[in-house]
């Protein structure tokens, strides 16, 4: 057997793994993305059998559309809010459930994970009930402490209703990232912490000098993942809870895309918004990766 056949077989072996995946990726990802980009250059209602080529008009129009800017702002507000909220709480819970080894740790781990098993649609409906001004839990709870019945319209503030979408989004996200961090923390050898305590480092010092550096990869992945799922997926929670209202105050790019493409019959414009989501996701990923670049800490 000469080296050529060995090489050929090796390459065939590699190709048998790569080619099918690449094919599926091409057909189900690259092709739709290319189609989406293609449609974004047309004025098309989404129902008609005719489309008009308009070049970059959809993108130019978007530039002058105040709602799209508000949607982008809301999207990044949710990204920032979710990263801070989820990472703080998930890290806190992960450390609490691993480093302080109390008896009910397993129970709490399951409890915190439950929202991840529930569909986002159910979460949206559930929180709609919590926020309901008349029969909702939140006003009912607050009314316990006041003389008069509290009737705050939690989802009806004209200016900052988007704030109200943060708690459900954070609540729904904590569990998964907590599990991720728990796994990371558990892989840190116990001896590190022992050595640190002998050297006189307190819990806080141990957290900053051992836990954070040694779980940095997982923290980074978590932050990137929260960012990407928020930019691509906050549509669901927004659509279930407010449909972008009142008066477009909670519109995010995903919900505005849906509104324009399927409710107002501007499919080409919707496709253009979709393309912007893709571009912004890519840019944000690169920027965040740059920002979080950190010397790798090797465990040895």
């Amino acid at each position: 057997m000469n080296s050529g056949t060995v090489k050929w077989q090796r390459n065939l072996f590699i190709a048998s793994f790569i080619v099918p995946t690449l094919l599926f990726f091409g057909v189900f990802t690259i092709y739709p993305v290319a189609q989406g980009l293609y449609y974004s250059f047309f004025d098309w209602s989404g129902m008609s059998d005719k489309k008009t080529f308009v070049g970059f008009d959809n993108f130019v129009e978007m530039f002058h559309d105040p709602i799209i800017w508000r949607a982008i702002g809301n999207d990044y507000f949710l990204v920032a809010g979710k990263i801070v909220g989820i990472m703080l709480l998930a890290t806190f819970f992960a450390v609490a459930l691993t480093r302080f080894g109390f008896r009910l740790a397993g129970f709490f781990r399951s409890i915190f994970f439950i929202p991840n098993v529930i569909s986002v649609v159910v979460i949206g409906v559930l929180w709609n009930f919590i926020y309901n001004p008349q029969i909702g839990f939140l006003n009912g709870f607050l009314s316990l402490f006041t003389k008069e019945q509290v009737t705050i319209t939690w989802l009806g503030f004209p200016g900052h209703t988007i704030w109200m979408l943060l708690p459900p989004a954070i609540w729904a996200g904590i569990g998964f990232y907590m599990i991720l961090l728990i796994a990371a923390i558990q892989s840190i050898p116990e001896s590190y912490y022992e050595a640190a305590s002998i050297e006189g480092a307190g819990q806080w010092k141990q957290f900053w000098s051992i836990t954070v550096p040694l779980t940095w990869e997982q923290i980074k992945v978590s932050i990137l993942n929260i960012m990407m799922t928020t930019l691509n997926g906050s549509f669901v929670i927004v659509w279930i809870m407010t449909e972008g209202g009142p008066d477009n105050s909670t519109q995010v790019m995903g919900s505005y895309l849906y509104q324009m493409a399927f409710r107002q019959y501007h499919f080409g414009y919707g496709a253009a918004i979709g393309f912007i989501i893709l571009v912004l996701s890519l840019i944000t990923t690169i920027v965040l990766q740059r920002l979080m670049r950190h010397d790798t800490v090797e465990m040895s």
């Binding site: 690259i30 209602s45 005719k50 509104q259």
Partner: protein, 455 residues
């Protein structure tokens, strides 16, 4: 090295082939799809005679009906299609139906291969958009002298005429429902409140209701077309000397219509409700079901809604609850009641393959016998004139039919606004009810949307 390059080249070739195949794939299915029905079309053309209007010609070939199944159910459709089939045994009728049918059939409308006949109801389908997209057959000339199976002129038996788009008719209203304001007669009797007949009495009784500790008015801010349909549009017509052509001008994107003082007067009525504290603060964030639940629990006295409300909430209506209804509350004392209708229409696809059968079906369904049958089977008034008082239709349907045929009621025929303008009006009304904009700003916003939409 060479091998590697070769494999890379091979890989790229495979990808390219795959991508182009993917392209071919969709191309093929398209052409196949368009080919198939054309085989059926000639058969239909050969056998159907052009004067199908007068003599029931023998219809053959395939005939496909698309109907959305929503609040009105599908009982009537099943019945009428079965009857039509019995009358035309040689026709192969295919039903495309269900609550998701508008989405399911969308690729076929885009691909130029739609069903022959379509019932325009539910989300997704919008008659104005379908007309603009050139999807619907122009029925203007046909309808002028089309007679139904009983020999009646169809236009004569329509309670409300078909909407005109640039003077042309593309779809015929099948349902005749009405927006309006509901209250609970039992509660009003118990509390000694008088039922409203005009704006002054509406305000007066609302004052009393508020003093009695109940919020007078709730609506769904999540879907502001309820308040627009039941309060704003009738108010505009009342303020415009009962002339509803102003709404038709608005639908035709005429900026002057929106700038009319009648629009401002109507908006100021909503402002008055708002400033007197009559509008439930919960309204802005809740959906229609939540607002209807609060209304049924007597937490709010009035609700703007459509006549389907009793049917929709049938399971949740508490014992003793008695629906009171008036199509509008914004008219001056002694003025005429304005009923803003809500309809669903039927049309023929421009690219349909069996238009003769579709026209024959129109002649079949727009007959007097169907008025009672529709009311009974769907629980809503039909757009066909006919006495339904003897039928088994629900009593509120009969009441509504009475209202809509009363000579003292101004009935606004079906009007579809441009989707962008409609959205702008909904957003602006929401903003108006929570005091973030003024009526003048409402007009400014909406006229901006009109200018943009008509570009």
């Amino acid at each position: 090295m060479m091998m590697k390059k070769k494999f890379a080249a091979l890989g790229i070739a495979v990808i390219l082939a795959a991508v182009s195949l993917a392209g071919c794939g969709s191309g093929n299915t398209n052409s196949e799809a368009t080919n198939k029905p054309t085989n059926a079309a000639p058969a239909a053309e050969e056998t159907s005679t052009p004067d199908a209007g007068n003599e029931p010609a023998k219809l053959t070939g395939d005939f496909e009906i698309q109907y959305f199944v929503g609040g009105y159910g599908d009982k009537w459709w099943k019945k009428v299609i079965a009857d039509f089939q019995a009358a035309n045994p040689d026709l192969k009728i295919k039903e495309s139906s269900g609550p998701k049918i508008n989405d399911q059939n969308r690729p076929r409308w885009i691909g130029g291969n739609p069903p022959d006949f379509v019932y325009i109801d539910g989300p997704v389908l919008n008659d104005r958009q379908m007309v603009e997209d050139g999807q619907l057959e122009d029925l203007t000339d046909w309808l002028k002298d089309a007679k139904n199976v009983d020999g009646d002129l169809i236009t004569d038996i329509l309670a409300q005429p078909a909407q005109q788009f640039d003077g042309k008719v593309y779809n015929i209203p099948l349902v005749l429902n009405s927006w309006g304001v509901f209250w609970n007669k039992a509660l009003f009797k118990e509390k000694g409140w008088s039922e409203p007949t005009d704006f002054a009495s509406f305000l007066a009784v609302s004052d009393k209701i508020k003093a009695d500790g109940i919020t007078p008015f709730i609506h769904t801010g999540k879907y502001p077309y309820y308040i627009n349909g039941s309060i704003l549009y009738p108010a505009i017509v009342s303020a415009n000397n009962n002339d509803y052509t102003i709404l038709q001008d608005m639908a035709a994107n005429k900026v002057e219509a929106f700038e009319s003082p009648a629009v401002l007067a109507a908006l100021n009525k909503i402002v008055e409700l708002r400033d007197k504290g009559f509008i439930d603060k919960a309204s802005i964030q809740i959906n229609h079901t939540d607002s209807q639940m609060l209304f049924l629990q007597n937490k709010d006295a009035f609700i703007p809604n459509g006549l389907w409300l009793p049917n929709e909430m049938a399971k949740d209506i508490p014992a003793g609850f008695d629906f009171g209804f008036i199509p509008s509350v914004t008219q001056e004392a002694g003025g005429k009641v304005v009923a803003n209708t809500s309809t669903s229409t039927v049309a023929i696809a421009k690219n349909g393959k069996n238009k003769e059968a579709a026209k024959a079906f129109l002649q079949f369904i727009f007959s007097k016998a169907q008025a009672s049958q529709w009311a009974e089977l769907s629980g809503a008034p039909s757009n066909i004139k006919g006495d339904i008082s003897a039928s088994n239709a629900p009593s509120f349907v009969k009441d509504a039919a009475k209202y809509l045929t009363d000579p003292n009621t101004i009935v606004i025929p079906t009007i579809t606004y441009n989707a962008d303008v409609d959205k702008a009006m909904m957003d602006a009304t929401d903003a108006l009810t929570i005091s973030t904009i003024t009526p003048e700003e409402w007009v400014k916003r909406v006229t901006d949307a009109v200018k943009k939409a008509s570009k």
